[in-house]
């Protein structure tokens, strides 16, 4: 199971994802610079959190034009697993790999704290080690995590069971239907605002995020 962590200028959770895959999950992993184009040797791509290109425009709006993104699309078309975390989720929506968009948080502030998310679909490559309704303690850290989409898209997401995670209890950012993470129709592309890599060691207060990474490994084996 070989992971690749894509590095855009301004990515800042790239090291964290790399560390968790390498040292906690003990899987092979490499950094992929945004101008590289070969992805064929990889099984799972991680688009990490951060502020790609500073996100001075709209989050992820510039990163979608990175040379690597065309190949990320091809990689996903071929069935490769892609997980976008936080800024990675924003990039995936901007690039059209996932529907909808992420607006500024309701309170207009950046929010960094632990939240509880609920598993809504355990039949994906990212949740096969979880069960529906399971609660996970995973932190969020974003200024623009307020998921939105039009009515037709929302009902399609529901019909296809593409909503993978929702916030349980307090909805921290105003996301429509408390959506915290969604996947594509084919189920091989996941975007989520919470950071599973920040909840993968007991020292950090939670290991719940590890179950998502373990699901990915299980899906490929």
């Amino acid at each position: 199971m070989k992971f690749g962590v894509i590095v855009f200028p301004g990515s800042n959770c790239d090291h964290d994802c790399h560390d968790v895959v390498k040292h906690v999950l003990k899987q092979p992993v490499e950094y992929i610079w945004h101008q590289e184009t070969t992805l064929d040797h990889l099984d799972c791509l991680i688009l990490p959190g951060g502020f790609s290109y500073g996100d001075y425009l709209r989050c992820g709006a510039i990163a979608r034009f990175s040379p690597i993104m065309e190949n990320v699309k091809k990689f996903a078309d071929r069935g490769g697993l892609v997980i976008g975390i936080c800024n990675g989720f924003q990039v995936l929506t901007e690039a059209g790999l996932l529907p909808g968009a992420l607006k500024r948080n309701n309170n207009l502030h950046f929010i960094c704290k632990h939240v509880t998310i609920r598993v809504e679909n355990d039949q994906t490559p990212f949740t096969n080690q979880l069960v529906n309704k399971q609660a996970l303690n995973v932190p969020i850290a974003h200024g623009e995590g307020n998921y939105t989409c039009d009515k037709a898209t929302l009902s399609e997401l529901k019909r296809n069971k593409q909503i993978v995670f929702t916030y349980q209890g307090e909805n921290p950012n105003g996301s429509i239907d408390s959506i915290a993470g969604i996947c594509n129709k084919k189920r091989n592309v996941l975007g989520m605002m919470p950071h599973p890599e920040r909840a993968s060691e007991s020292l950090l207060g939670s290991e719940d995020g590890l179950l998502i990474f373990k699901s990915i490994i299980n899906a490929k084996n």
Partner: protein, 713 residues
């Protein structure tokens, strides 16, 4: 030269004469500008340097001093840290002022080759019921989150205080900590005649010109908004790329020296790199990437545009370094070379526009400042006068100086880099060091009111309390950085405060075997209303030998025993006394108890005394406690007195004998005062309940106070 010209740049008559004697001729405009910034208080410390030399430089661990940022070595790892102020820029333009404060201190750290792993912000504002103070407060917080979150360095701690003395002159002190293998520390010097000097990072613009000589080196008068163009503008995305490109360049081994362009920009970095390497330097201004056409040479030399570095590289290897910076989308050019003769030569359009000895530039004059103690006014708080202790406790918990700062630190990414083992909101932040079984704890501390009442003791209390903050997490205090914020040093009473605080820090640091490894002086913190409280902010880093034995504030389990180390007493003056010997023993006992693994929670007693400390342990855990006290002192002192050298611990009932042994060894008072449990905090004396409040009510008060104040103002 006309007097007016050099006076406008902040130079005095004597200083101008000194320049004439160094150059043996009249300075060119560029030279004059260079001397003015190099000799400003902000860069050259002419008024404070004499006193700063008193700071101890050695401690329990091998210390690293002498560069922009200092640190210490533990287990072959260099832990580099420094705190710096950005007070005046933040008062003039809060968001950019605070943002560039974060950016500046980050560069001081990664320019040493250390990756920044944590940021702390020690902030002081006027009271936020005033709309302008609220604007400053919101702007500063916004600037910190804007810059810190984007660069991907967690903001894990700090302090926020509100007091009228900071109205009109806020304080924004930022500390950054970085780590690297001790053999990979980079030096801020130019070496090897003929080696190329590389300029890398952002383009140079007209922002921040005179930031240090004009803005930072005079007090605020009316019309301070006009100083806005002297504030720099921050670009955290470029900084993030600069961090990565710099660290990648340093890994090549061909970078011989590196310095960031901070205060006084290119002038300071070029002259100081040359002076440090005992060489000269030549810079060709035509090579410097600029943002706009037609910039004057002196503007390029004095610009404080952010996110720029100067590197000295092995001759022939420059292309390798240029390539790394360009990969990260940054400008990078060879802009000069190392000279044999010890002078700074600046060229523009083929002609030499400055040619000054580097030593003369880098050696600012030293002044003996007059000082005189003046009378202090009582600073007594009205909160404590009432007889209703429940009400007093609620009032204290809703006082913005004590109330939770959660609504602020939740706006900062405090988890990125996945090292944060104890989150903000406690006494100190704890971070692991990846790949090691040890970790670090760090804190910032200062009580300006104490320092106003008695600068010497107040400064000692700041050191003692910073140590206590670290010890309660299980860390051994290792080294200090300080950010010395004072009023106008040319006024003898202000300089007395500075001198006495320095002496207090010196003596306390020697007592606790702590070196002062880095720091910063910020004078002229005055508004038309007067000077700020003397505020020598202390930043301190300690070592947790085993990160698994880390402690935090919240109570852990019902039935645990609450123990007080140290003793309660009735203070006679407004300022609590400090017995350094008792302090040291209480801390040693606490640390040993944590290290042998019997302590479940620990909290230092500070503002608001015993009852506030107990309330915080309860609030943060959601667990109540019943406490019974028997001290024969008046109830207000017992509950709210700020007597030093006290810590509350919780332990399992069967650990009490082990704890008593430790307390006996260090000969300190150690008393069981209560038990964790229930849904309320109950504090009694004999049969009389002095305090009885549901934890939910305490929590509601504690967390909502600051958000409510902000809504109102």
């Amino acid at each position: 030269m006309e007097r007016k010209v050099y006076q406008e740049l902040g130079l005095k008559d004597d200083e101008y004469k000194r320049i004439l004697s160094i150059l043996k001729r009249e300075p060119t405009p560029t030279e004059l500008a260079m001397f003015s910034v190099e000799w400003s208080e902000h860069c050259g410390y002419p008024r404070s340097r004499k006193w700063l030399k008193l700071f101890p430089q050695t401690g329990k661990y091998q210390s690293l001093v002498g560069e922009d940022a200092g640190g210490f070595v533990y287990d072959d790892t260099a832990i580099i840290f420094k705190m710096e102020s950005h007070n005046h820029p933040s008062q003039v333009e809060p968001k950019q002022g605070a943002a560039t404060g974060v950016g500046g201190i980050l560069r001081d750290i990664f320019t040493t080759g250390a990756r920044p792993i944590a940021l702390f912000d020690s902030l002081r504002f006027g009271k936020i019921d005033n709309p302008f103070n609220k604007y400053i407060f919101n702007g500063v917080i916004d600037g910190i989150q804007f810059y810190g979150n984007c660069v991907g360095v967690p903001t894990v701690g700090g302090e926020i205080y509100f007091d009228d003395s900071y109205s009109g002159n806020c304080l924004v002190n930022v500390m950054c900590i970085g780590v690297c293998p001790k053999d990979e520390i980079a030096r801020a010097r130019a070496v090897g005649v003929g080696n190329p000097i590389i300029y890398a990072g952002s383009k140079t613009g007209r922002d921040g010109i005179g930031g240090c000589s004009i803005l930072a080196s005079s007090e605020f008068e009316a019309g301070e908004i006009e100083k806005r163009p002297t504030v720099q503008v921050g670009d955290p995305f470029t900084e993030k790329c600069l961090i990565e490109a710099t660290l990648e360049s340093l890994k090549t081994g061909v970078v011989l020296g590196i310095k960031d362009m901070g205060a006084a920009g290119l002038t300071c970095s070029s002259a100081e790199m040359a002076a440090a390497g005992d060489v000269g330097i030549e810079i060709d201004l035509d090579k410097i990437p600029v943002r706009e056409e037609g910039m004057e040479p002196w503007e390029i030399m004095m610009s404080e545009s952010q996110e720029r570095m100067l590197l000295c590289v092995e001759k022939g290897k420059e292309e390798r370094i240029l390539k790394i910076f360009r990969k990260w989308g940054l400008d990078a050019v060879v802009a000069g070379k190392v000279l044999k003769e010890k002078k700074a030569v600046i060229k523009c359009k083929g002609t030499v526009i400055a040619d000054a000895p580097t030593e003369g530039l880098a050696q600012a004059p030293i002044y003996d400042m007059a000082f005189k103690k003046s009378k202090v006014k009582s600073q007594k708080s009205k909160v404590l006068s009432g007889k209703n202790h429940n009400k007093t406790l609620i009032n204290l918990l809703s006082d913005p100086n004590i109330a939770s700062k959660k609504s602020v630190y939740e706006q900062y990414d405090h988890m990125v880099q996945i090292n944060t083992a104890v989150y903000p909101g406690g006494d100190a932040a704890v971070l692991r060091i990846k790949g090691k079984d040890w970790g670090i704890a760090a804190t910032t501390d200062c009580n300006g009111r104490y320092c106003y009442l008695d600068p010497y003791t107040g400064a000692q209390i700041a050191i003692a309390e910073a140590c206590r903050n670290l010890v309660v997490t299980g860390a051994d205090p290792a080294a200090v950085t300080d950010c010395l914020n004072f009023g106008n040093p040319e006024k003898p009473d202000r300089f007395y405060q500075f001198k006495s605080c320095v002496e207090g820090i010196v003596d306390a640091c020697k007592y606790f075997e702590l070196p002062v490894v880095s720091g910063n002086v910020s004078f002229y913190n005055e508004s038309p209303k007067g000077a700020i409280y003397p505020t020598p902010t202390i930043g301190m880093v300690g070592i947790l030998k085993d990160i698994d034995h880390r402690c935090s504030v919240p109570f852990k389990e019902e039935g645990d025993i609450i123990v007080l180390l140290g003793h309660n007493k009735e203070e006679e003056g407004e300022l609590p006394e400090l017995d350094l010997d008792m302090e040291k023993r209480v801390q040693a006992a606490c640390l040993e108890a944590i290290q042998i693994g019997i302590v479940k929670s620990a909290h230092d007693l500070s503002e608001g005394g015993l009852s506030v400390a107990l309330a915080e342990c309860a609030i943060l855990s959601g667990k109540g406690a019943s406490v019974n006290l028997s001290d024969k002192i008046n109830n207000a002192s017992l509950l709210f007195g700020e007597t030093q050298s006290r810590i509350i611990l919780t332990i399992a009932p069967d650990s009490i004998f082990s704890l008593s042994d430790v307390a006996m060894l260090y000969e300190i008072p150690c008393n069981i005062i209560g038990k964790v449990g229930g849904k309320s905090l109950v504090i009694s004396k004999g049969k009389k309940k002095l305090v009885n409040q549901p934890v939910t009510k305490l929590a509601e008060t504690y967390f909502s106070a600051i958000p409510n104040l902000l809504k109102k103002a």
